[in-house]
């Protein structure tokens, strides 16, 4: 009998601390599968964020660095500049990447830093117990938007792929979702493309995963995926926002 699905090698055996049904686990696996398939585990250096994924350093089998909150792109820049042959990636939440780390994100992209950024947008600060994130939807209730996010005072959610695509250094930017089998499979392709972008030396790549946080949204895991589909996807349209690969240059872009 042939094994047609098992844990990728680039994931360790450590059980994760994530809540039941948290999509962080799916995204971890996709990245690990791509590291396996591209043979990158030995040359990869991953950078874990501050956020629910802070302990990603225990879950990926490649060398890992734990970054200060929001600074993962700067840490990754340091690694990549020191070791240009390493396959360097960050794994970051929306608070980490789009709030405190805004400057580091924008400038890593503007520099065309040759790294991959995996961005988990779950519209909330998961780790700290459910505060409003820069990507929290208008009207969404969180611990710090108890009356629903009021755009008049709390402002508007940031669409990260759109923002970064205006920068010349961004080589590849795609938004994916992990709410169903089809989207998870598409997400994996995006992850692979991101790594390929780095291997080709084309510069900064980002994959934004529209994700769920059942715990802080207050839903069951499958309810959370429905909410994601119905509320987040309209605000955060999926698609390739930028792709400078030769191949893509032929194709149309959204």
């Amino acid at each position: 009998m042939a094994v047609v699905f098992e844990k990728p090698h680039a994931l360790t055996d450590a059980p994760t601390h994530y809540c039941p049904g948290c999509t962080h686990g799916i995204i971890h696996r996709l990245i690990a599968e791509c590291l396996d398939e591209l043979g990158l585990e030995g040359s990869a250096v991953g950078v874990a964020p501050v956020g629910c994924a802070v302990m990603a350093y225990n879950y990926f089998s490649c060398d890992m660095i734990q970054s200060p909150h929001g600074r993962a792109p700067a840490i990754a820049t340091g690694v990549k500049r020191a070791l240009p042959s390493a396959a360097v990636f960050t794994y970051q939440g929306d608070g980490d990447l789009a709030a405190i780390g805004t400057a580091e994100t924008v400038h890593a992209a503007a520099r065309g830093e040759n790294i991959c950024v995996f961005f988990v947008n779950n519209a909330i600060y998961g780790m700290t117990g459910g505060q409003m994130a820069p990507t929290t939807l208008p009207g969404q209730v969180t611990q710090t938007s108890p009356y629903g996010r009021d755009v008049k005072t709390a402002g508007y959610p940031i669409r990260v792929c759109e923002l970064l695509s205006t920068l010349d250094g961004t080589a590849f930017a795609q938004r994916v979702a992990v709410d169903c089998v089809r989207n998870v499979l598409a997400a994996k392709k995006a992850v692979k493309k991101a790594f390929q972008t780095q291997l080709d030396g084309r510069g900064f790549s980002i994959v934004e995963f529209i994700s769920s946080c059942p715990t802080n949204w207050g839903f069951t895991p499958s309810e959370a995926l429905v909410w994601l589909r119905e509320h987040m996807l309209p605000y955060y349209p999926l698609g390739v926002y930028k792709d400078t690969s030769a191949q893509a240059q032929g194709e149309a872009q959204p």
């Binding site: 042939a2 699905f5 990728p8 039941p20 049904g21 686990g25 895991p221």
Partner: protein, 68 residues
């Protein structure tokens, strides 16, 4: 023959696999908690499995192995 296996120690009983399975192969344990306090997912209709891997693709905890 297709075979799906669940590592009950890793499973957190989230139900996403069962939700994803087109064949109703999987169901949560009714009266059982694993060491972490979760009701583990069970293969309740093993014979119906087609090894389509949908369950494993949605499992956040790499608790599922699929063989054929």
């Amino acid at each position: 023959m297709p075979k799906v296996t669940i590592n009950e120690n890793l499973c957190k009983g989230c139900g996403l696999c069962a939700e994803a399975c087109p064949r109703g192969v999987l169901a949560l344990a009714a009266d059982e908690l694993n060491a972490k306090g979760y009701p583990p997912m069970k293969v309740s209709n093993p014979g119906d499995c087609t090894a389509c891997r949908s369950c494993a693709i949605m499992c956040p905890d790499c608790a599922i192995t699929v063989e054929r």
